[in-house]
Subunit: 120 residues, 2 copies
């Protein structure tokens, strides 16, 4: 078993030039022996956003705190604490903090070595 | 894209006789087209608990609100908002609400049709 407070997990800056104010923590993943999917916790500063991009695997998202919006394939929806969002494989998407506090959300993806199978 | 507030998703009572005060919501899953894993949101009433059981697939957990503890293979750890917990495949485990408010957590599992492969 692993139990950890997300803020105690070392953050990684998201260096994509189209991202702004985003940090990611790999909370549960291959290093913990997780065989199938990876649970990451993202924090987006006020005014910050993830890149607007697409990839051949899905996102399953749960918002823990803060306010924001999610863009997906031409539609933008507001979300906040307790909202879930599903981004299908291949969909163009972006997350944005529209509030005054950090936007903190969980985003689960397949393990890298299983993403190829997803794209087929 | 699907965006939903978790409390707007119909809850299912967990009818296991060894569970107490547990409701589950399937927030993102096969009905949404999710190809690999299922995001469920659990709410456990004060004093309530999940069954102490094991199964051949993993849990990846994130606590949204409330206070509780997680038992896994002989060890019990307290957890609360912002904590993650990883339960490996095959491990005996149980979640319990030790606080005065509902314990709300996300628990991600492989899709049922992918669980057999996990057990090998």
């Amino acid at each position: 078993m692993k139990v950890a407070f997300y803020q105690d997990i070392p953050p990684q800056s998201v260096e994509d030039p189209d991202a702004s104010g985003v940090t990611m923590r790999v909370a549960i993943g291959p290093d913990d022996g997780a065989p199938n999917f990876v649970l990451r916790v993202f924090s987006v500063e006020p005014g910050g956003h993830s890149p607007r991009h697409a990839h051949p695997y899905e996102h399953e998202v749960f918002v823990h705190s803060g306010r924001g919006e999610v863009f997906c394939e031409g539609t933008t929806r507001a979300f906040g604490p307790g909202h879930v969002a599903y981004i299908p494989p291949g969909a163009l998407h972006q997350f944005r903090n529209t509030g005054a506090e950090p936007l903190v959300f969980v985003c689960v993806v397949p393990r890298k070595d299983k993403q190829r199978a997803v794209a087929r």
